[in-house]
């Protein structure tokens, strides 16, 4: 599964959300991403948080580890190396 290894490095560029939606629908859309970034600056007081959906009960589309891609796109494109791939079940 994809894990958030370095939350503090996240700059809120949302590139992960964008590439994730690209994997799912071949277009860019924040709402079609399995990742949701809530950088603290967006609402100014809360702690930063990155959530990845692994079950439909969380939200759709769920992360399929970029099935069909050479490598998960969020890991490949994140400029700050926030994400890491770990071999374990979700």
């Amino acid at each position: 599964m994809i894990i958030v290894e370095n939350l503090l490095a996240c700059t809120g560029c949302l590139i992960c959300e964008m590439v994730c939606s690209f994997h799912h629908i071949c277009s860019y859309s924040r709402s079609q991403s399995s990742i949701k970034v809530d950088k603290s600056i967006f609402n100014k007081v809360k702690e930063s948080r990155i959530t990845i959906s692994y079950k439909k009960e969380q939200w759709d589309p769920v992360c399929d580890l970029c099935d069909g891609e050479e490598f998960p796109l969020c890991i490949r494109f994140c400029p700050e190396n926030v994400f890491k791939f770990e071999r374990r079940n979700a």
């Binding site: 560029c13 860019y28 100014k44």
Partner: protein
């Protein structure tokens, strides 16, 4: 209603506040000729605004344009251009902001928003995809920008939305009022916040769940990856990651391009600068970093003041301008106070450039005994006194007492105060000047000729400060002098290059810092053409794209011709900067020599195909650029005889 175009969202949202009428028009009416963002905004303004409309009248129009590549993964494609008739003069008013708002707008299905008319009561515009509503802003009126954003999120019941808004300054029609986007990004200059205020519109909030499609997705992603990697490794990106844009304040200061005490000098003394250098902000106050949407080279930094009189202040953006303005122009030698002033302006909805300039004017007048405590309501004005400067910021935002005069900008304030006070007002085309322009000649030319009235974000050469090598300069611009600050030769050609390219960047919605404005490693026009072609499926060459940039630049110029009648006389620096040399620092003695300026200006007009006397584009140039409507408009206004300089 959703358009099916690639890259574009497909719709221009039109809002008539007078009749609460909301409708859409297809974006394809405007592209590829005007690309998007600023280009489309400028065209709508030229086509629809009449000469006799003054900035604060309901008939003025304000346009918000997300660039053509916004909402895609192009590095730094996060920008929105905001354009209207300027609150400072009757010419073009233009601002630009980063953040996350522009992309959200496109996901909601809109490329541009065009607002005209005036609402009877305060309102804000709520856009949730196809659902667009005007909601009451009675409860928001008078609130700071952070309070406004929070109250709107509460009102809508969603946190994950984007908001742009004005503060009390905009409501009070204060000319230095700005528009605050996504909480702390700002479209600062030209008094755009006051334009919103004059229309009784406090904010725009947007939530979009749609998608932006790419015509050639595979090739597009390959190019994104290649370019992003290169940008990330560039020296500029590394420095911005560490210091934000603050880092360039050192470079400008070392080139004697940081106005000190209202242009008494252009060099901040070393003992002062040591207390307000980028390193001080970085080491003492920085707590977090951020980037705008899709930017792999973050320049945003969050600062927190943990001790002293401004304890507890959190500031979400400080720019090179913050040091120029508060540290140099007003001579504040306390980094914490600079952050406090920056944050105060953001909360009240004041542009730091125009606000600090008019305060510098006031202090200079006070120090030279043109005004006294009688004028200032008992305040003793002196350089670097941040307590008083903060008090003035508040007075300006609320038009209290002396603040009511300063809220008009330094030119109008000097006209009101008289007694020779105009000597201390430094402005270009009526808007306050903020840049140090005596030492860097190409930078100066770009700043002074800019249509919106004094700004370094049109053709001004950052290449001089960044010291482009002769080889890079020759390769990119066809002349060697881009990095030679004190040289006049070759500068008009490079300024024009950036006028076209920066018009394009604002229309594509791409940040200057991921373009090649500050670094030869930045995205080239050729790469922009590739991105535009792959995104939209409209095959566009580099030359065609540059031509569109030229068209948009000329359109902006034509707005000034038609609405303000600015001529060659308006393209000169303030007289004192051509007479009084820089007093200290490595470039002591530098001044803008009138005869060299004249020569540079003549070459600039001639390369543009503009008339030498009027500075206006000639008829052949407008025909070449397919701007026949501009000729028509001027014909109707009986201004056509000026087109050929007669």
């Amino acid at each position: 209603m959703r358009g099916l175009k690639y890259g574009y969202a497909g719709n221009v949202l039109r809002v008539d506040l007078t009749n609460s009428r909301i409708y859409t028009k297809p974006t394809e009416n405007y592209f590829p000729k005007y690309i998007g963002g600023r280009g489309i905004n400028q065209w709508i303004l030229f086509k629809e605004l009449r000469q006799w409309v003054t900035p604060f009248e309901p008939s003025n129009i304000i346009c918000f344009g997300a660039g053509a590549l916004v909402g895609t993964l192009v590095p730094g494609a996060a920008r929105m251009s905001i354009d209207s008739k300027s609150a400072y003069n009757t010419g073009i008013g233009s601002g630009n902001s980063g953040g996350w708002f522009a992309a959200e707008l496109k996901f909601a299905g809109y490329d541009n928003i065009v607002i005209h008319g005036k609402s009877k009561q305060p309102v804000y515009l709520w856009i949730e995809n196809d659902k667009v509503l005007l909601r009451s802003a009675e409860e928001l009126w008078g609130k700071t920008t952070a309070e406004t954003e929070k109250l709107i999120k509460d009102d809508i019941g969603q946190d994950d939305i984007q908001v742009l808004c004005i503060g009390p300054a905009g409501e009070n029609l204060v000319r230095p009022a700005c528009i605050v986007v996504s909480g702390f990004r700002v479209a600062g200059r030209c008094g755009l916040g006051a334009i919103m205020g004059s229309k009784n519109i406090k904010a725009i909030a947007v939530k979009g769940t749609g998608a932006i499609r790419i015509k050639e997705p595979g090739e597009f992603m390959t190019l994104v990856e290649k370019v992003s990697e290169r940008l990330r490794r560039s020296n500029g990106a590394k420095a911005r990651r560490e210091f934000g844009t603050l880092r360039s304040s050192t470079l400008y200061r070392n080139l004697s391009a940081s106005p000190y005490k209202n242009y008494q000098d252009d060099y901040i003394p070393s003992e002062n600068f040591a207390k307000i250098s980028p390193e001080v902000f970085h080491n003492s106050f920085e707590v977090d970093r951020y980037s705008c949407i899709t930017c792999p080279t973050p320049c945003g930094h969050v600062y927190f003041i943990g001790s002293g009189p401004y304890l507890g202040t959190k500031c979400f953006k400080a720019e090179s301008n913050s040091i120029w303005n508060f540290g140099g122009r007003l001579a504040i030698d306390d980094a914490g106070a600079i952050l406090k002033a920056q944050e105060e302006c953001c909360q009240l909805g004041l542009d730091i450039d125009n606000t600090s300039s008019v305060i510098a004017f006031a202090i200079d007048c006070f120090q030279n005994k043109i005004i006294s405590k009688k004028h200032t309501g008992g305040l003793e004005l002196s350089w670097g006194d941040h307590g008083v400067i903060l008090a003035l910021i508040k007075k300006i935002a609320y038009r209290e007492g002396f603040g009511n005069i300063l809220a008009e900008g330094s030119l109008r304030a000097s006209q009101k105060l008289g007694k020779g006070s105009e000597r201390y007002s430094f402005h270009i085309k009526g808007q306050d000047l903020i840049e140090g322009i005596r030492s860097m000649k190409g930078w100066a030319l770009g700043v002074v000729v800019s249509a919106r009235g004094g700004t370094h974000t049109r053709g001004a050469l950052a290449t001089e400060c960044m010291k482009y090598s002769h080889e890079d300069s020759q390769r990119i611009f066809g002349v060697k002098t881009a990095g030679d600050a004190q040289v006049y030769e070759g500068k008009p050609k490079i300024v024009i290059y950036f006028e076209y390219v920066n018009s394009l960047l604002d229309s594509l919605g791409v940040c200057f810092f991921t373009g090649n404005w500050t670094s030869p490693d930045g995205m080239s026009p050729q790469e922009l053409a590739q991105f535009y072609s792959l995104t939209t499926g409209i095959k566009t060459s580099e030359a065609e794209l540059i031509k569109a940039g030229e068209r948009i630049h000329n359109l902006e110029k034509m707005f000034n011709v038609y609405h303000a009648g600015f001529t060659r006389n308006d393209d000169y620096p303030p007289k004192r900067l051509m007479e009084e040399p820089i007093k200290s620092g490595p470039l002591k003695g530098e001044v803008l020599r009138r005869e060299d300026w004249d020569k540079m200006l003549s070459e600039y007009y001639s390369l543009h195909g503009w008339d030498q006397k009027t500075s206006w584009p000639n008829k052949e140039k407008l025909e070449e650029l397919d701007l026949f409507e501009c000729i028509e408009t001027l014909l109707q206004a009986k201004q056509i005889h000026h087109l050929n300089g007669k």
